[in-house]
């Protein structure tokens, strides 16, 4: 059975289903109860599951994550909502030094089963600290896993798969796609949580993206097709670990790769992808891999954010560059 809904609603339904299935699942965050969260992702859940399972917390991110550690030790599965990407840093110590390392520190006695939901990336015209891409910080940390959904169907399934998983997961939600609709299959998941998927098949260039950038990549592929360039678009879905195998398979076919991301490109997910693919597919490469990223500046005032975020034009420019190399 499929139905059409927004990504926000899909996340809401996914959370609802996870809470129905497992009484140990609880939600914690700022304004997530009566208000339903600033993006309404948890709308109506406190009414149905009560204040003990949908916890309106004091305004302290470190405590939202730190208490989730204690709850995990007690056997609960907390889903923490960080209100905006730029607000996650007060919880950085808890995430990096505690959540990520507790399983190891306890020699496996503790499972840090929790999900830390972060609305990330820009595109909504917000003020500072509301449009960032913090995922590279977490991808670099052993003990964590980082995933991102780009469609309502993935949102619905990936949030449930993340909650069921025994490792801590940073769940990045592309906030500018919250209100876009898509088909959701309510019966079976599209793939495993850590699998990348091919969103569009092509033969000339492998275009890799995650989160909000997937849609931009697909639009670039459509435009390129009109000009005669066939682009294969891959949605990484999982950011850490990366499903490099699927990307390598595509690159062996196309010989050219462009990665799209909103974070600056230094030590980024795109850097990791290009590096891994270069190592694995060196003899298939027809051009060096290129990253289309945010610039190395603090996220700009949003009147000019569309000149910071990877656009269709910037992606097509990168496509032209990789197509311009001749071996």
């Amino acid at each position: 059975m499929t139905t059409t809904m927004t990504m926000a609603k899909a996340l809401n339904e996914g959370l609802r289903r996870a809470m129905e299935k497992d009484p140990k699942v609880l939600l914690m965050g700022e304004d997530i109860g009566r208000l339903g969260g600033v993006f309404r992702i948890t709308d109506g859940l406190q009414k149905d599951f009560g204040e003990d399972r949908v916890v309106d917390t004091p305004l302290s991110e470190s405590a939202i994550v730190g208490t989730a550690v204690g709850l995990a030790i007690r056997g609960y599965r907390a889903v923490c909502e960080i209100q905006f990407d730029g607000f996650v840093y007060p919880a950085f110590d808890q995430i990096v030094s505690q959540v990520a390392k507790m399983h190891k520190r306890s020699d496996g006695a503790y499972k840090m089963a929790m999900v830390i939901r972060i609305p990330f990336q820009g595109g909504i015209g917000a003020i500072e600290h509301h449009s960032e891409s913090p995922e590279p910080y977490f991808a670099q940390t052993a003990g964590l896993r980082v995933v991102s959904c780009s469609t309502p169907n993935d949102a619905y399934w990936m949030i449930q798969q993340s909650i069921e998983h025994d490792d801590p997961i940073i769940f990045c939600e592309p906030k500018c796609r919250y209100w876009e609709k898509g088909e959701v299959d309510l019966e079976s998941p599209p793939s495993g949580l850590f699998d990348a998927v091919v969103r569009r098949e092509g033969t000339d260039v492998t275009l890799i993206a995650y989160g909000a950038s997937v849609k931009t990549a697909l639009r670039a592929a459509e435009t390129a097709a009109v000009e005669g360039t066939s682009i294969e678009v891959i949605d990484t879905r999982s950011i850490a670990p990366l499903d490099i195998g699927l990307m390598a398979k595509s690159l062996e076919k196309t010989g050219r790769v462009v990665v799209v991301q909103e974070s600056p490109h230094t030590a980024s997910i795109g850097s990791e992808i290009v590096s891994e693919l270069t190592q694995r597919c060196f003899y298939s490469l027809k051009a060096p891999g290129i990253r289309v990223s945010g610039y190395h500046v603090p996220y700009p005032p949003t009147r000019i954010e569309e000149d910071y975020r990877p656009s269709v034009d910037r992606i097509l420019d990168a496509v032209d560059r990789v197509m311009g190399f001749e071996s």
């Binding site: 609880l26 003990d52 917390t57 004091p58 302290s60 470190s62 405590a63 730190g66 208490t67 989730a68 550690v69 204690g70 709850l71 995990a72 030790i73 007690r74 056997g75 609960y76 907390a78 007060p90 110590d93 808890q94 030094s97 505690q98 390392k101 507790m102 399983h103 190891k104 520190r105 306890s106 020699d107 496996g108 006695a109 503790y110 499972k111 840090m112 089963a113 052993a142 003990g143 896993r145 998983h165 025994d166 490792d167 670990p241």
Partner: protein
């Protein structure tokens, strides 16, 4: 008196003190048991310092001077309570039943933890101080949801009291009326920083600002620490909410074996506190009130000696782990980079381990 509100039931000379709110409920055998605990912990601590000096431990965090604070608190716990320590809670670990050699695995640098925290209901050591107070509050929120009559207890010191996480833990514990006891050992020094820099008011006064009770207890008086802690735990278990206990004590030794306290504090101060020794005052009480004989004290000393010898043997037997074990428990579920790392290590012949 350090503070007119300091709860003390036993003077440094071992004389009983009347207190309007607390009285000792312990009998002679129990007090002797606490004495034994304290002697053993002090001996364990001295042996560990020696082991470090002999190059057998990477580091050691001495607990000398704080034995009463830890044994009094540790013995007030019920079996189902759950404790969240720093790296100096050797007395608490002892009370929770953690084998002494397990306490030293961290310091021997063969583990990042050392014991099974679920088995002993004593969490792993926390080195980034203050973080553990939030874990205790979260655990306490779990207790509430389970409807259990249990409590969580967070340990920290005067240094960590300045950490933001501790403030957040206080806020949350108060907001949710969580069954948690915050046990702050004010040992006067955060490495070289005196507690007067951490706080301009007595630390236990902070609790009032957060909306729950705070108590300052003589941390070198095991009888008082026990009663104060027991009451706080009893209250937490039945919905009474959090309590902050400030155990006013002193770190006789260095912060760790890497520290040199002569650079920042004067000997006279240490001497003053040596006269407030937590072990000697209980011994004095046991002698004059319970007529405990020298032979009994000698028995405890011999037991501590045997334990120290065994500890030394156990530590020396802890060999370098197989490097491949670094991949164990990094994740709970299979992970491609873990498999990749394992494979590389095996291919390089670094480890004889299996995939």
């Amino acid at each position: 008196m350090i503070d007119e509100e300091l709860v003390q039931l036993l003077t440094p000379e071992g004389e009983r003190v009347e207190n309007s709110e607390y009285e000792s409920t312990l009998n002679g055998d129990e007090i002797f048991g606490f004495y034994r605990d304290m002697v053993i912990i002090r001996r364990l601590c001295n042996e560990s310092t020696s082991l470090q000096r002999q190059g057998q431990l990477a580091l050691w965090a001495p607990v000398q001077g704080q034995e009463a604070a830890q044994i009094g608190a540790g013995r007030a716990l019920a079996p189902m309570d759950f404790t969240f320590p720093t790296y100096r809670e050797h007395g608490i670990a002892w009370c929770r039943g953690v084998p002494p050699e397990n306490m030293l695995r961290l310091f021997r640098a063969v583990s990042n933890g050392g014991w099974d925290p679920q088995k002993y209901r004593h969490s792993v050591p926390t080195v980034v101080l203050g973080s553990q107070t939030l874990h205790a509050v979260g655990y306490a929120m779990g207790i509430q949801r389970d409807g259990a009559e249990e409590a969580a207890m967070a340990f920290f010191g005067d240094g960590a009291s300045s950490q933001g996480d501790v403030m957040e833990a206080f806020v949350w514990a108060a907001s949710f009326n969580a069954p948690v006891v915050f046990f702050c050992q004010n040992n006067q020094w955060g490495i070289s920083t005196p507690s007067t820099v951490q706080s301009k008011i007595p630390l236990y006064h902070r609790a009032h600002g957060f909306g729950f009770p705070g108590v300052r207890v003589d941390g070198n008086d095991v009888l008082a620490v026990y009663e104060v802690t027991k009451r706080a735990l009893d209250s937490a278990r039945v919905g009474g909410g959090p309590t902050l206990i400030e155990a006013y004590t002193y770190r006789i030794g260095a912060h760790t074996t890497s520290d040199d306290p002569t650079r920042y504090r004067i000997d006279a101060e240490v001497e003053v506190w040596k006269h407030r020794d937590p072990v000697e005052r209980v011994k004095a009480l046991l002698v004059h009130e319970y007529k405990v004989k020298n032979a009994d004290f000698d028995g405890v000393a011999a037991e501590a000696e045997t334990m120290a010898l065994k500890l030394r043997e156990d530590v020396l037997a802890m060999s370098r782990p197989d490097p491949i074990t670094m991949f164990d428990n990094a994740y709970a579920a299979p992970h491609p980079l873990i498999e990749e790392g394992r494979r590389e290590m095996i291919d390089l012949g670094i480890s004889g381990g299996e995939l």
